[in-house]
Amino acid sequence: AQSVAQPEDQVNVAEGNPLTVKCTYSVSGNPYLFWYVQYPNRGLQFLLKYITGDNLVKGSYGFEAEFNKSQTSFHLKKPSALVSDSALYFCAVRDLRGGADGLTFGKGTHLIIQP
């Protein structure tokens, strides 16, 4: 079965510092990996995805993610954090179970950027 794990419930970063939100995956076959962000009282918004190609994927709002096949990881990164980046972040993997072709999500990581 496809699954993703986000080992940190919360990550605290000072504004202007680099940030990393961790994600590891377990899939059979080639992974399709995604990051979504959720602001309070809103739906999830797509940030970026990895399907194939370069291991470093660039997405919205200055975020990027690095695919590492040997470590089965897909960590989300940003060189300089903004207070407005504070939100709930979800890692997800494509899930073909039963023909749904949807996504299986991690439990989410709260990112808190301190001024």
Partner: protein
Amino acid sequence: NAGVTQTPKFRILKIGQSMTLQCAQDMNHNYMYWYRQDPGMGLKLIYYSVGAGITDKGEVPNGYNVSRSTTEDFPLRLELAAPSQTSVYFCASTPGQGGSGANVLTFGAGSRLTVL
């Protein structure tokens, strides 16, 4: 372009009552999904549909039903509401297999349901 629209945004139900959460998308997407989000648990798939007239169960379907009579609409029905169904419900859609938009889900703003 409205994207995915969910109604109502908030609802309080009594145990045993029934209701329908509405979801509509205007992007001509074939695939639609219903997820529930509980604190610290991520999102769990309730039901999905790969096209009009086709629906199937996800990971947590018990206590729910869906229908897909048109491409645009995918309502979620709760029968005999229970406190365990207190959650935030999200509808999402995607074009379907193939193409650059495949697997990129567009989410609605959510419907917060409380069962007392």
